[in-house]
Symmetry: C2
Subunit: 246 residues, 2 copies
């Protein structure tokens, strides 16, 4: 491991929504580096174009160039490329929000999202990470992974009651994942936000294990739980199957 590279990434990762712009001493504190290291790496990252320095405030912030890696990731992802036409199809058919997600540790990561004009949510965008245990894509993916992996993800999750409907009992979560395996889809209602409703199906790789999920996200203000399943279960299963590699 080249330590200076690790330190440079500590500096970059120190910037987030809570710390959009920082002075060198703030960077040192957030990145857990001494001031001279923070200075060397911030200036190197500035020269490479990944950080901007604001002349007035002497604060640094992430630059446009930080979009490039994600852009290259998405362009080079075979999963994204295979899924995009299907996401667009489901979006046109349903006029609901359609997501492509993968599992990373205990979290679901949003790779692509086509928003509905019915319910515009500004807070979930590409790269967003949300807990897998209480989301339909998370349960759909876990339903087509080996049982011991699903159990270990649930065991490692911080099971928080986001609403009164959030299931946080590990055994019942395993039952819900088993039910998703049998149904071919997972549906979650109001487990993360009040009124949310989503339904997801797993995308399978060549070994028939889940490599991601497609989900439709809508709201209980327009449909009952039963209507969400009736309308969208078959569609989401066939959409996910058409992206699957088998």
């Amino acid at each position: 491991m080249v330590q200076s590279v690790a330190k440079a990434f500590k500096v970059l990762q120190a910037f987030d929504a809570q710390h959009p712009a920082m002075t060198l001493s703030e960077i040192a504190q957030q990145a857990d580096l001494d001031l001279s290291a923070a200075q060397r790496f911030a200036h190197t990252l500035q020269q490479l174009g990944y950080l901007l320095k604001h002349p007035g405030t002497r604060q640094f912030s992430l630059s446009l160039k930080s979009l490039d890696l994600a852009y290259h990731y998405r362009l080079s992802s075979q999963l994204v490329n295979r899924a995009m036409p299907v996401l667009h199809h489901v979006s046109k058919e349903t006029e609901e929000t359609v997501n492509l997600t993968v599992l990373d540790g205990t979290e679901v990561v949003y790779l692509e999202r086509i928003q509905s004009r019915h319910v515009l949510a500004t807070n979930v965008t590409t790269g967003t990470r949300l807990p897998a245990y209480c989301l339909s894509p998370g349960r759909a993916i876990l339903s087509r992974l080996p049982n011991d992996i699903a159990c270990s993800v649930i065991a490692a999750s911080d099971l928080v009651k986001h609403t009164s409907h959030t299931e946080t009992d590990p055994d019942r979560l395993i039952d819900l994942i088993e039910a998703a395996r049998q149904q071919g889809y997972a549906a979650c209602f109001e487990e993360l936000y009040h009124g949310d409703a989503s339904i997801a199906a797993p995308i399978l790789g060549p070994d028939s294990q889940a490599i991601g999920a497609i989900s439709i996200a809508t709201t209980l203000s327009r449909f009952s739980r039963e209507e969400v399943v009736e309308r969208y279960a078959k569609l989401i299963i066939s959409a996910a199957r058409s992206v699957s590699a088998y």
Copy 2:
């Protein structure tokens, strides 16, 4: 400049749509490094989680973590945060594709995009860079930058005829930018693709210079050029103004 950091980013930047997965020797070639440097930095980036190594093929590819920086950039961008509710409003009003863009050198970079269900384009996504001279957001931004900057961007641009309608004469481009300044918007028709139509207005910063643009993208298969302007010119001007800092 810490050279090892620069080399690490050369390795990361070597991955793109043409090179989604590479062996160490391919990385060395693309990143212009010797094999042992490519090996050291690829393994460091793998340990840091930015590259994945595929056991079977011994190829490396970008990992999910490469989405994180872009996610943090967007969350921390004041422009994105201010613009999102307005983009959603314009999307709902028009049901067309709505974009937030900024200028970087001679290119327009897409920061956010809410797609229309009428014309789903799979090839433009967050982080996409396209030439400013032939796009309405590019001309809208240039119309509210100092004249010498607009001229130098046009002079530095590779003026390519993407279609028979692409304007590539530098003097006429400056005239079109001047017209956009007077109208408050820029409209482009079929200058990048056959049938494309878009209209954009500049977002102004505290010094009344453009810091970005909002645009509506549609198609000439549904509207004439005159209809695009009639329907959307006022809306795009007021949308951009409501995000402007003055």
